[in-house]
């Protein structure tokens, strides 16, 4: 899953630690989500969307999988 978290965070001049504090997660989790290594749960995705005042789809985009 792709996301615009890093871009949105940079626009607000927040560090990963700032964002992590506001979301109540560790900086490691914010970093892993930004790098696309970890997909957040639905409650966390909603929390992120509320924080940036956007919809979930505006932040997270499903990356289509290539057929085998």
């Amino acid at each position: 899953m792709k996301n615009r978290l890093k871009l949105l965070r940079a626009e607000r001049d927040w560090t990963q630690a700032n964002l992590a504090d506001q979301l109540g997660v560790s900086r490691q989790t914010v970093n892993a989500i930004e790098k696309g290594k970890f997909d957040p749960s639905l409650p966390l995705a909603f929390k992120v969307a509320r924080l940036f005042d956007l919809s979930i789809e505006d932040i997270f985009q499903d990356a289509p999988t290539t057929p085998a």
Partner: protein, 141 residues
């Protein structure tokens, strides 16, 4: 282990740090109680039945307390940290089950001359859990 992995493993909220310290404390106390039950009857109270029963009950009580504290520790983690812990525990349980069952048979089939001991299995599972946690943190760093 590089510095970033250590930083990620220590990266946590104040509540998580507090829970980690509590878990460490309870783990040490439980390990001491385990040693007490193992060595006490022979070396400290000459197999006095009542003292041994009390030591075993204290050991079980501390073990249950440690489980409760570990549960609180897990509940205090965020979802990625919890996933790392779950993966590490799954690895530890799987390795313990597979290698433990083979290890148990080694004496029966005359491949080793000594009787397999449960502490060996516990040590292996503990080490596997630590390795799993490190690998998980490296994967998501």
């Amino acid at each position: 282990m590089n510095k970033e992995i250590i930083t990620d493993m220590c990266d946590s909220t104040a509540q998580t740090k507090k829970n980690t310290k509590r878990l460490f404390f309870w783990s040490v106390i439980w390990a001491l109680a385990t040693a007490g039950v193992g060595f006490g009857p022979k070396n400290l109270w000459n197999f006095n039945t009542w003292l041994t029963i009390i030591a075993v009950l204290i050991h079980i009580g501390l073990g249950l307390g440690m489980i409760r504290v570990f549960k609180q520790y897990l509940q205090g983690l965020d979802e990625l940290q919890r996933k790392i812990q779950l993966d590490a525990m799954a690895l530890s349980l799987g390795i313990g089950l597979v290698l433990g069952s083979s290890y148990e048979m080694l004496e029966d089939i005359k491949l080793i001359p000594f009787e397999p001991e449960i502490p060996h299995l516990l040590i292996m599972m503990s080490l596997t859990y630590v390795v799993g946690t490190v690998l998980g943190n490296r994967k998501y760093q």
